[in-house]
């Protein structure tokens, strides 16, 4: 079937302003112009405002002496000699420390609660559901303030500290635990640890190759455990335990020696782990539910028992669903650690975007650096995630 056009009629024409191509270019040019105008005006205002406030822009402040103290520093930090740049690194390391430990705790707690929600035990399932519904629906900031002000700051004062075995003190200034001291010969233990890790990886690769070739399985898990933990312990024993402890001791006004865990750190860690665990629990539950019942039944009919079924059939498939949202929960935890500013834990935002910004007045530079740090963490994680996703994605047809 065809449409007969009268012979000699001109081809259908549209006015140029109705041409989709022309329109699209016009819209884009207009958008760019508007954004450019905004950026230009903002920049001009910023320059004018900064000049009026006598603030020199630039990153010259980076090497200036900071002149303030930080309550928890993983690297040497001294208020007299250290620079703002060093304060930045101290803050960043503190952020990474609390995020790293928080991620480990939240993952363990989250997996336990997620699996508990699917338990056949009615009481267990209901308690886990109650935990998730309560914790998810209360703002994290409120939980942090509660842990800090109502729990940890309400601990007894220094004079009435809880003392455990004469070596561990707990009071409203923090938890004081013995600090291990490494004596000579400790290097051998470290070497043994490194050798154990390398050996475990090598054994895993070998076992996998052998299984692909012959179908025989090797005890990878117990062997790995023995190599990573057993070997260093054995060397430690051979070297005659070159390990001592500095015990915290109560002085008149303070506790000296040992490792001090600040209440700010503990409150942030509790809050972040407990809050994120509720979200991880939901991710885990959804992941396990996403593996269809037929997979388990098929595994049973192949003769696998319930242990290997879980380990070889259900968990690998559930992980495919769990890992991407799990990573975004890890990112959320890292981003939420900025709430440290509310309880005074010296993380990146509290030290850098708080104190350094207030002292230097370099708002644009400081906020930009902070954002770049978090953006880098986020983008790097999502890049790794995309690589992982493309590796484990289902290959269809």
């Amino acid at each position: 079937m065809s449409i007969d056009l009268p012979a000699g009629s001109p081809p259908a024409r549209v006015a140029f302003y109705n041409d989709p191509k022309v329109r699209s270019i016009a819209y884009q040019v207009a958008l760019c112009a508007v954004i450019g105008f905004f950026v230009y005006t903002a920049a001009r205002n910023a320059i004018a405002n900064l000049e009026r406030a006598h603030i020199a822009s630039g990153f010259g402040f980076w090497n200036t002496t900071a002149g303030f103290d930080i309550s928890q520093a993983l690297i040497q930090f001294d208020s007299q000699t250290s620079s703002y740049g060093r304060a930045f690194w101290v803050g960043l390391l503190n952020t990474l420390l609390v995020a790293g430990i928080g991620i480990v705790i939240a993952t363990i707690l989250g997996f336990i609660i997620g699996i508990a929600r699917l338990s056949k035990n009615w009481l267990m399932a209901k308690v886990a559901a109650g935990y998730v519904e309560t914790i998810r629906n209360i703002p994290l900031l409120l939980q942090l303030l509660f842990w800090y002000n109502a729990v940890l700051k309400a601990l007894p004062e220094f004079r009435e500290s809880f003392v455990v075995l004469g070596g561990v003190f707990l009071n409203n200034r923090g938890l004081f635990i013995p600090q291990p001291i490494f004596k000579s010969g400790y290097g051998w233990v470290l070497i043994a640890l490194a050798a154990g890790v390398i050996g475990a990886i090598a054994f895993y690769v070998w076992a996998r190759k052998r299984q692909e070739r012959t179908g025989q399985q090797a005890p990878v898990f117990s062997m790995g455990l023995a190599l990573v933990f057993g070997l260093p312990l054995a060397v430690l024993a051979l070297a005659g335990f070159p390990l001592g402890f500095v015990f915290p001791a109560a002085g008149r006004f303070n506790i000296n020696g040992g490792i001090e865990i600040l209440p700010e750190f503990a409150a942030l860690l509790f809050g972040l782990s407990i809050y994120t665990a509720a979200f991880i629990a939901e991710v885990v539950r959804a992941g396990i539910l996403a593996v269809s019942r037929g997979q388990t039944e098929a595994a049973y009919s192949l003769g696998l028992t319930s242990g290997p079924t879980l380990r070889l059939i259900v968990v690998p498939q559930a992980m495919r669903v769990i890992i991407p949202p799990l990573t975004s929960q890890y990112l959320n935890l890292t981003k939420n650690s900025t709430l440290a500013v509310a309880i005074g834990y010296p993380d990146l935002v509290q030290v850098f975007t708080g104190t350094v910004l207030n002292q230097t007045g370099q708002a644009v530079e400081v906020v930009a650096i902070t954002m770049v740090v978090y953006l880098t963490i986020s983008l790097a994680t999502s890049l790794l995630m995309n690589i992982y996703n493309s590796r484990i994605a289902l290959v269809e047809r």
Partner: protein, 391 residues
């Protein structure tokens, strides 16, 4: 006489049942309360141990909570002495008189007392708007257009005039520095909710647009905002925004935080809406184009109604996150509900060991009720939407 095989068989049968036997009841241990207990709590030694452990935990936790909130709680009093163990010589639970006295501060902050009727009117209008909106999302509601106009146009403008004041019609101007408490929490949350949906839709459409410049801008904006924590966005809004505008137009503190929250929420909303757009089959787009609809007509009449419908549960979940995130304005020095609790709790007049916990308990209950209600709504909506897909 020989007996055929068949005859013998027949002669041996003495009884044939003519009717079916009624089913016997299952063993007593398998049904009723006992059976339920066995199946759900005591199915294996491990489960028995688990049940006992959790029961012990609950037996400790629940009485402690009830004791703190009700039995040992103080119900009347005028200052801190009513809530101190050293004065009262008994175990003290929650300090409710502290909450009664500070309640108006928790709700209005320092909003001038003679002008507080304006806050009431605002709350009432918002309640009407919310009910209307819920009805609006309840699929076959009539006059959806009026509802959305009310919620997205009428409500913001009248609330703004009502709360900030307008001398021309006799409403005294009230500085936003005086606003506080639940009022600010609700204002921040509503601004976030009202702004994030339209902005989020625009950004989501931009991200799926065929124009490279529009797409690039949307992607950069969305990924940038989603990659940084809300605290830094708020910091940026509160310290950098004043730099970017001429000094005489420098926005006040609350407006800066509102801008930060609105931008942040719209980036998250954009991703939620984009997920909905991606779920629409290509045939819907092609069908709309074949009917001769232009881009905006296609989006407004064909695509968005379907895409938004399936994303309603996720939109509500984003709103829950937004509502919890409003507490972060605390950090840039705005007196939201949590901040008023925080200020009241360190007031020397009520300084007692239980004051902090009482204040936090009230705040927790407030957020729990709101967020849980929204979560329930999202779940009911999800179930309702799934009905059509059931086979």
């Amino acid at each position: 006489m020989t007996i055929a095989e068949g005859d013998l068989a027949v002669s041996e049968i003495r009884f044939v049942r003519g009717a079916t036997i009624a089913a016997r009841p299952p063993p007593a241990a398998m049904t009723g309360a006992l059976g339920w207990l066995r199946a759900n709590l005591l199915s294996s030694p491990f489960n028995i141990a688990l049940t006992i452990l959790i029961a012990l935990l609950l037996a400790w936790l629940i009485p402690e909570l009830v004791k703190f909130l009700l039995i040992n709680a103080v119900w009347t009093g005028s200052d801190r002495d009513a809530c101190r163990e050293v004065v009262q010589h008994r175990e003290i639970g929650a300090c409710w008189p502290f909450v009664w006295e500070r309640w108006s501060y928790f709700v209005y902050g320092s909003y001038p007392i003679p002008q507080r009727w304006r806050v009431y009117v605002f709350f009432a209008m918002l309640a009407i708007g919310v009910v209307w909106l819920l009805w609006l999302l309840w699929l076959e509601a009539p006059r959806r257009d009026l509802g959305s106009v009310y919620f997205f146009v009428v409500l913001p403008i009248t609330s703004f005039i009502l709360l900030t004041g307008w001398s021309a019609i006799g409403l005294l101007p009230v500085d936003t520095a005086l606003w506080g408490g639940i009022l600010v929490t609700i204002v921040v949350a509503s601004v976030g909710i009202v702004c994030s949906l339209p902005l989020g839709i625009l950004l989501a459409l931009g991200r799926r647009s065929r124009m490279p410049a529009v797409r690039l801008f949307s992607v950069i904006f969305i990924e940038f905002v989603r990659g940084v924590p809300l605290v830094t966005v708020l910091f940026m809004a509160s310290v950098m925004l004043p730099l970017f505008v001429p000094e005489e137009y420098s926005p006040d503190k609350l407006v800066r935080a509102l801008v930060g929250i609105a931008l942040f929420a719209s980036a998250y909303m954009a991703e939620v809406v984009r997920a909905g757009l991606q779920a629409i089959p290509k045939g819907q787009f092609e069908g709309a184009m074949a009917l001769g609809l232009g881009y905006w007509q296609m989006m407004r009449l064909i695509i968005l109604p379907q895409a938004l419908k399936i994303t309603i549960p996720n939109i509500v979940n984003t709103y829950i996150g937004l509502f919890k995130d409003t507490t972060l304005v605390f950090i840039v020095g705005i007196f939201d509900f949590l901040r008023t609790v925080e200020v009241a709790r360190i007031d020397p007049k009520w300084a007692a060991p239980v004051t902090s916990t009482t204040g936090y308990a009230v705040a927790a209950i407030f957020y729990l009720i709101f967020c849980y209600a929204m979560a329930r709504y999202a779940r009911v909506m999800e179930a309702r939407l799934a009905q059509g897909d059931k086979r």
